[in-house]
């Protein structure tokens, strides 16, 4: 055996052993394979959600906060204004600004509220300024909202203890989509409820001393039209009477969940489950001032725009409070869920589910079984054919194809690529591509032999000629597989991954390994005059 063949054999053997270790571990075992080959949700069962963050919610919240900040600053600077409105999510209107303070107002906006610009200074009311959020600032807030949502979802999923979740942004920067995968969970409702809850906690002062049975009854207190700083909120749950009740509260929250330090399960005075919370330093300071100034009044505890309860303030409270479930009370799991979502922070915006797919574990197992059977049948029938058609050389092809599969799985394990059902189809097609390369070479060798060449020269001419063809066919296929990978999603991507890896490993096995095998066979014979092909 000459040196060239020895080197080539060692390389081939090395890659084979390495690949086997990569996908089956040391020592190779089925258990090791299960650990190393990552299966997609369609094979192992699980849930995938595509959520779209309603980023305009975040703009609305920002604009609302800006109105409050602007109002406070104008008060401080002595600039009077009749009214603020928010005609659109990214637009606010200051109606009837003191004409004498025009310049001061403009300076204030330019200096301290640079995210907005004055787009008009006319309106129904004289001296009305319309401030619109700058496009760049709006985009920034939108992206922030997606990041924040991603973060919150991560916190919540981790708190739930889901194994190996995937939480990623999806699509372009204007899509605002998040993809969430939970392997092994085929009942998504619970998880969906947890990750989808905005969980914005607000503590708002109640106007008046009681609730109202209907929204209309509440509005009547103000002759049907509420002043702009107040709003009517309904209770989260029906009271003991069986229907919801309504409260008139301040629009601006005294303290929000953003200033929450921690939350935990506790009990209310009746021994029912409740949620206690602690505020951070700045929240505690605000809360202390708020409670001190309003002893005797009611404070609404508002979660996601609904009043959980409205206890009376009996004394100054600083850093802790309790949320009770109102008249009906919390169920124990409700209290636990609420603690979880409060701890993980509020979502900056609502989310809508754009796509949901669930695969039961048994269906996944069926798919694995079907895929395995199909692969084995494909492989065995192809091998049987090449052994019949190409006789001894068919053994070459068989080795090349098996090695191709071994490298394919080794590379997938190494790259951490996910094997999906379409991916299995990709594996089977790799078997097909592998056989094509071998057929191409063998047919050429036969042709050269017919033309009267010796086996040695027939093999070497064929390999060097066919090499060009193989490069062309594989590169063309690689180009299309790459585009599939880049622009495809889900099923298409899983397919492209195996195809790309398969094409590359096939190039190696067909050209390098198969040729080495031929050379080994030919070098063993005293005078290589015949070749079984």
């Amino acid at each position: 055996m000459n040196k060239r063949i020895r080197t080539r054999s060692i390389i081939t053997l090395g890659i084979t052993v390495l690949s086997i270790i990569l996908f089956a571990g040391i020592p190779p075992s089925v258990e090791g394979m299960k650990q190393r080959i990552r299966l997609g949700l369609d094979l192992r069962g699980g849930t995938q959600l595509v959520l779209q963050v309603q980023v305009d919610d975040a703009l609305k919240a920002t604009t609302d906060q800006t109105i409050e900040a602007l109002r406070a600053q104008m008060e401080k600077d002595g600039i009077t204004v009749r009214q603020f409105t928010r005609p659109a999510n990214d637009t606010l209107e200051a109606r009837g600004v003191d004409p004498a303070k025009d310049a001061a107002f403009r300076n204030l906006v330019d200096g301290s509220f640079a995210d907005y610009e004055i787009v008009s200074s006319q309106g129904e009311v004289p001296n009305t300024y319309t401030l619109k959020m700058k496009a760049r600032a709006a985009d920034e807030y939108r992206l922030q909202a997606v990041d924040q949502a991603l973060n919150t979802i991560e916190n919540r999923v981790n708190a739930l203890g889901v194994a190996e979740p995937v939480i990623q942004k999806r699509g372009g920067p204007t899509e605002h989509e998040i993809i969430v995968q939970f392997p092994g969970i085929d009942d998504p409702e619970y998880v969906k409820r947890i990750i989808g809850k905005p969980a914005l906690l607000e503590l708002k002062l109640v106007q008046g001393t009681s609730s109202y049975p209907t929204r209309e009854a509440a509005l009547q207190q103000y002759g049907g039209v509420l002043p702009p700083n107040l709003e009517v909120l309904e209770s989260a749950k029906a009271e003991n009477s069986g229907s919801k009740i309504y409260w008139i509260v301040n629009k601006v929250a005294g303290v929000t969940g953003r200033e929450l330090k921690s939350a935990g399960v506790s009990r209310d005075e009746n021994g029912r489950p409740a949620v206690s919370f602690n505020l951070n330093a700045s929240g505690a300071a605000k809360f202390g001032r708020l409670t001190e100034e309003n002893i005797g009044r009611l404070l609404a505890i508002v979660l996601d725009g609904q009043v959980e309860s409205a206890p009376r303030l009996n004394s100054r409270i600083t850093d802790n409070g309790i949320i009770t479930g109102g008249g009906a009370g919390f169920a124990p799991e409700e209290a636990r869920e609420l603690v979880l979502v409060l701890k993980s922070g509020a979502l900056p915006a609502r989310m809508t589910t754009m796509q949901e797919s669930v695969v039961g574990a048994s269906l996944g197992a069926d798919s694995i079984k079907n895929g395995l059977v199909a692969s084995v049948v494909a492989l065995v029938s192809v091998i049987a054919f090449v052994l019949f058609y190409y006789r001894a050389s068919g053994i070459n092809a068989m080795f090349a194809m098996l090695l191709n599969l071994i490298i394919l799985f080794g590379a997938m394990a190494y790259l951490g690529a996910t094997l999906t059902l379409p991916g299995i189809a990709g594996v089977i097609l790799t078997i097909g591509m592998g056989i094509d390369s071998n057929v191409l070479i063998f047919e050429r060798i036969r042709e050269e032999l017919r033309a009267g060449k010796t086996p040695m020269s027939a093999v070497s001419t064929s390999f060097s000629r066919v090499f060009i063809t193989l490069v062309d066919t594989h590169l063309a296929a690689l180009i299309s597989a790459t585009f599939l990978f880049l622009f495809g999603s889900g099923a298409v991507k899983g397919f492209a991954v195996t195809l790309v890896i398969g094409l590359i490993s096939n190039m190696f096995t067909a050209v390098f390994v198969s040729r080495t095998l031929f050379e080994i066979v030919l070098s063993r014979k005293e005078r290589a005059e015949t070749l079984s092909i």
Partner: protein, 304 residues
């Protein structure tokens, strides 16, 4: 030595009119079917909506299942496994905010009569927007892949070879889609993956022939292009048929054993492998010849 097609001497290019007629006929069949049906049968992932597969512990009457579901929304209810498994198609997807839709809607509805007696085997719910996005994405991926192949072949051979190969691939894709319409197979993301694999295979076949043409052209400068094309097809024909047959074997394995989910994929491959191999000698090669014949008279005039 056991051999198929030994010393083949077929005048393929002489039959080009016949081949083109056959292709036209196949394209026409697909087109007529599509026009008559008005549209493709899209899968849930492309049109939006919800498909839920529910498994019951017992045999259940299909009418009863149907009655429980939200009436306005039902598109299909199919039973299998002797009436213990149902595939339920709903028009709406999860998108809508306050209503419970998707698998939740089915669970809620079935709980009214079968609480605890069924489980959701699988469910897929796609909003119309995402469906549209996915469809566009699939078309983009295909077009980019084709453009990439065109450029690569044009770079390695001549531009007409690239154009001929891509034209042949286009022809294969259209015929396969026609068959999908004809046999009422659904087009979904997996099928797109299959179509793109076909693109790969078909181009593969074409390149093998063109590569041989290039090789022969170098050695036999005096021969007519038509003769060289014919010889190249004949020389590679046993490879073309063998590979197709072997790939066919693997795809048949998928079709038979791969299970329901991969069925559409396998169907596309079964059709596509046949059409793809056929188009490489029946469409791509003749196109190169037709183009070169068009140019020849001009060259002659210039010489005079």
């Amino acid at each position: 030595m056991f051999e198929l097609f030994k010393g083949l001497q077929v005048d393929w290019l002489g039959k080009r009119k016949l081949f083109i007629a056959i292709s036209m006929l196949l394209l026409l069949i697909g087109m007529v079917s599509l026009v008559l049906k008005g549209r493709f049968e899209y899968g849930t992932d492309f049109k939006g909506g919800t498909v839920v597969v529910v498994k019951f512990n017992e045999t259940v009457d299909i009418g009863k299942v149907r009655d429980l579901l939200p009436q306005a929304d039902i598109q299909t209810v199919q039973s299998s496994e002797g009436g213990s498994e149902f595939q339920i198609g709903l028009a709406k997807a999860v998108e809508t905010e306050d209503e419970s839709v998707g698998s939740e809607a089915v669970t809620t509805a079935l709980n009214k009569a079968f609480a605890g007696k069924f489980r959701i085997e699988s469910s897929e719910s796609v909003s119309a927007k995402v469906g549209g996005d996915l469809r566009r994405q699939a078309v983009t991926a295909t077009l980019y892949a084709l453009a990439g192949i065109l450029i690569y072949i044009a770079f390695r051979f001549e531009w007409i070879y690239g154009a001929a190969a891509v034209f042949a691939v286009f022809h294969d894709t259209l015929i396969t889609l026609g068959f999908f319409s004809l046999f009422n197979y659904e087009i979904n993301l997996t099928v797109i993956a299959a179509l793109l694999t076909l693109v790969g295979y078909s181009v593969n076949d074409t390149i093998v022939i063109f590569d041989r043409v290039r090789e022969n052209l170098k050695v036999r400068r005096k021969d007519d292009l038509e003769v060289i094309l014919n010889d190249s097809i004949n020389q590679t024909f046993s490879r073309t048929i063998l590979t197709s047959a072997l790939t066919f074997l693997t795809v048949i394995a998928l079709f038979v054993f791969g299970g329901e989910i991969i069925n559409n994929f396998a169907f596309a491959m079964v059709i596509g492998i046949i059409v793809g191999s056929y188009s490489s000698f029946a469409i791509a090669a003749p196109l190169v010849l037709i183009y070169s014949n068009l140019r020849k008279p001009k060259v002659a005039v210039n010489r005079r």
